[in-house]
Symmetry: C2
């Protein structure tokens, strides 16, 4: 296989481990704390996890321990969307297993959770592992979005685990996948087996974090890749001085990526969905706020700027959320009649006639292209596909219309030419930053230690991440500890609570203290491409979000 | 000013110079060759440049020379679109001037050529220069696209040069701007002044090159930035295994960027406009070729892929070129009547009635969105704005329709889900790669040497670029040598010949020998982010295009 010179160089990189893990396996011991409780709904969660609820927090420290060095057979799954560092979780896990006992084996299930249910697998060897060290992507075994949900699916997973004679399964995934891992751990116990399950916190979106999980892996690399591009575009905007760039950023519901990218680059506008919801802003309010920044900058002679838009924005605007919900209902209810309407105009007229007054007004105020997307682009369940809505173009169009009105009224004399971008796929498979390479390798190594210490239903945890890697603290957090009950498809389910941007958190406070200055003035910051070699202050810094959240801790 | 840690680190980078330039000014001497001729139309070009035609090629070598060390006052302009390294041309020029005589001054004209005509300027000092060393962007003095064309404009430029008491003007720009530089050099001589003009070859598009100009600056960094993103998306596609990504790349008419990006990343499809024109391909042929690759990969179970599309494609498809030309004519001719047509359907019907039969057929075969762009998005001169046509979306839609037909006929059983990207602004202002940082600094330093040796009407030239910087050869090429006569706005004008991709050149041959393999198999190559520190094979390599073109020379 031909590989790039960077990939070849990255093979030689030795990820850093926490000091306590960087010694002989026999010199690592586990310290267990007091029993734990779930973050909410304790009684219900406890009743659903009778075997695994209440386990103690585990921390690994230096000292003679009882970590098993018997041969183990462990399975691993990559679940959900790609995040930089996934390969290093696997290499860390593999290296831990092999260091303890060269007879141990790591089994990779192909294509996500379905690989576990279908027993579709490979067994890793050194050559395979070495070809993926410190690389991006999930292509080592592929990923998938199938969930283990039904009784049959749980039984199939157990069947494979027994057939494979697995001691443990490691699930690398986001909040949903780790909820799944918790259920699987409980199921395995409930069925009288000793097969352990360990989760690893993955997602570029950054929404899997809490008091004990300081960040999910991949967030660091993805947001730095987007920030590189945003910084480059800022420099272009400030050189050419003629365009506004509206940049939509991946991140699903939460705005962590948009917020961190804003802290990294200092845009003129960055919308945070959680604030929009909290302040119950309307779409027109958001449009007016942006238009005001455009006008203010134009008054200063600067007819250019940068606006960051989080992917999930639409669903956080209360009136849009209502509109989408009403559209989903009416399209489901009148599906057949709707399908007989051939022209968009007829469809739009019908929709307006069925919507509530306010929703009809909101719908009619939207540009034609967006109304078309709302009516036509539906998923297999008939629902509006919110993630496909070009929010960045919607805002450009509406801001442009408002500014044209202001111009006609003599209230705006500048020019507004805007370009749209959407960054997502560009960052999910980048070579992991040194931070993510070190963090994921440590998470994988820690997953091995949790297994070799007989624990199950835990999330691999590496903390103290704002310090050098040698000072990181490795351990495990009981998955049930992060759970609460939430409604899913009409039923109450135990799930890991998703972390949205907190408006009283340090990162948002930092942003909101600076944004007026950034709006009016040009304070662009150019992070440049991720560097893997060179001065530590260039190569080894965690995200600003992480540093701010950890400051004072 | 707050700056990023990478920017701080890059300030410390000392760009490499050719060995002959890396010594005392008095130890550099110029060697002049025989008189030169223009590449074509010698008599006409000669008659238009009586004062500057036929000058010899200049090369700088080690040895006692007559480089002036008197104080000089030099003006500099950034012209046209941004390209990484522009700042280093200025720092190299500044350092050369100051090294020879600390009393020399460098004047920066603001906002492009208009700054020279309006005498809008700053005088550089160490603090200003040091804040921009090795950075991307043109924000140090801004750029602009105004051209010096009319008699009044030439007179205004001369007036400023006299008022400023300039010894020379350095024009950093692409083919058009350097044609302008040649005219300005001639004009200054024709008006009895000794004010010199030196050009510097800039453009990310890579279309300003010839026997003596191995590459324009910025191409290296821009295409490496795009290749980083393409590689990341490839890894994502190969991990998720569910999307085709159609990626349009900047580069104006020429396909150098798409070709180099293809060589860097090994996509399944890369269209080269020059080949489309040479083989007189129709839009439907291109669509069918792509659909065949999709089908072939799907038959191998791979319902994903990457297609690279050069920005200028549309105009290289003969039937589209004809269509656009006919539309421009009819929209100009029937402008008023056309404006009375309110619905798109009426406009389209009218257009079809006026087009030639073949163009009407082509027009009608296009997706609605593209037909709208062709009819509605016109520039101030009433012309179709080809650069705004979403070629990548056009191809996705047409390939999708063809595959749906094939599916209905039982000739395709896979799935085709595609996403569109456009990369351009992401790369024009990146921190220059080490190659571009060294190359541009050397070009700026060489521009100073050309001035201090009394030369005018030259393009700064640094050659032998596939070798280490110490072996580079610096000198100057007479601008008239690169010229021929071409029709512009109905008149024959002397212009620098634009370099398109040559189908018998080594880069295209390399690509065409590999593309069938890349189409069928998954040979993705992941270059990763540009590295400024680390092993030389990662940090200091020129483009593959440059290496191939230079191999054997």
């Amino acid at each position: 296989m031909e590989i790039s010179s960077l990939q070849k160089a990255r093979y030689e990189y030795q990820p850093k481990l926490p000091a306590a893990l960087d010694s002989a396996i026999s010199d690592i011991r586990v310290e267990l704390g007091d029993p734990t409780e779930s973050v909410a709904d304790q009684d219900q969660v406890k009743s659903l996890f009778p075997h695994s609820y209440g386990a103690p927090i585990a921390v690994f420290a230096s000292g003679k321990g009882k970590t098993s060095q018997n041969p183990l057979r462990v399975g691993v799954i990559l679940s959900g969307g790609q995040a930089p560092g996934g390969h290093n979780v696997i290499t860390g896990l593999y290296d831990g297993l092999k260091k303890a006992n060269s007879q141990s084996n790591l089994v990779g299930f192909l294509g996500g959770p379905s690989g576990l249910m279908d027993n579709d697998f490979i067994v890793f060897d050194d050559a395979k592992i070495d070809a993926f060290r410190n690389t991006g992507g999930f292509d080592i075994i592929g990923s998938g979005r199938t969930k283990i949900e039904t009784d049959e699916q749980f039984a199939a997973a157990l069947n494979t685990a027994k057939e494979q004679k697995l001691d443990a399964v490691v699930v690398i995934g986001g909040d949903d996948s780790n909820t799944n891992a918790a259920l699987l751990a409980e199921y395995f116990k409930d069925n009288g087996t000793d097969i352990q399950v360990i989760g690893v916190p993955k997602t570029i979106d950054g929404d899997l974090k809490n008091e004990y999980i300081e960040t999910s892996f991949g967030f660091d690399t993805a947001v730095k890749t987007y920030s590189e591009l945003i910084g480059n575009i800022m420099r272009d905007a400030n050189s050419a001085k003629k365009y506004w760039h509206f940049i939509k950023l991946m991140g699903r519901s939460a705005s962590h990526i948009a917020l961190e990218a804003a802290l990294q680059t200092h845009p003129n506008v960055a919308i945070i969905s959680e604030e929009v919801a909290e302040k119950k802003k309307s779409l027109n309010q958001i449009v007016e706020e942006i238009a005001n920044v455009v006008r203010h900058r134009s008054d200063n002679g600067e007819n250019f700027g940068i606006a960051l838009i989080p992917e999930g924005l639409i669903e956080f605007i209360p009136e849009m959320k209502t509109l989408i919900s009403e559209l989903n209902d009416l399209l489901a209810h009148d599906e057949k009649y709707f399908a007989t309407l051939k022209s968009f105009e007829d469809q739009a007229e019908f929709a307006v006639s069925k919507l509530s007054d306010h929703s009809a007004k909101v719908f009619s105020s939207l540009p034609r292209g967006i109304r078309q997307q709302l009516l036509l682009d539906r998923d297999p369940h008939g629902n509006v596909q919110v993630s496909l809505i070009d929010t960045e173009k919607l805002l450009i169009e509406m801001v442009g219309e408002l500014l044209a009105q202001w111009k006609a009224q003599g209230n705006f004399s500048g020019s507004f030419k805007a370009l749209a971008h959407f960054f997502g796929y560009e960052g999910r498979c980048a070579f992991p930053s040194n931070f993510d390479a070190d963090y994921t390798y440590s998470l994988g190594y820690t997953a091995f230690l949790l297994i070799a210490n007989g624990l199950t239903g835990y999330l691999s945890s590496v903390r103290n991440l704002d310090k050098p890697a040698s000072e990181w603290v490795a351990g495990g957090i009981p998955l049930t500890m992060m759970m609460n009950m939430e409604q899913r498809h009409g039923k109450m389910k135990p799930v890991i609570r998703k972390a949205l941007v907190e408006l009283d958190g340090a990162p948002f406070k930092e942003f909101s203290s600076k944004r007026d200055d950034w709006a009016k003035n040009t304070r662009y910051f150019f992070p440049g491409a991720i560097q893997y070699y060179g001065p530590a202050e260039v190569c080894d810094q965690p995200t600003i979000t992480l540093k701010l959240e950890r400051s004072g801790k």
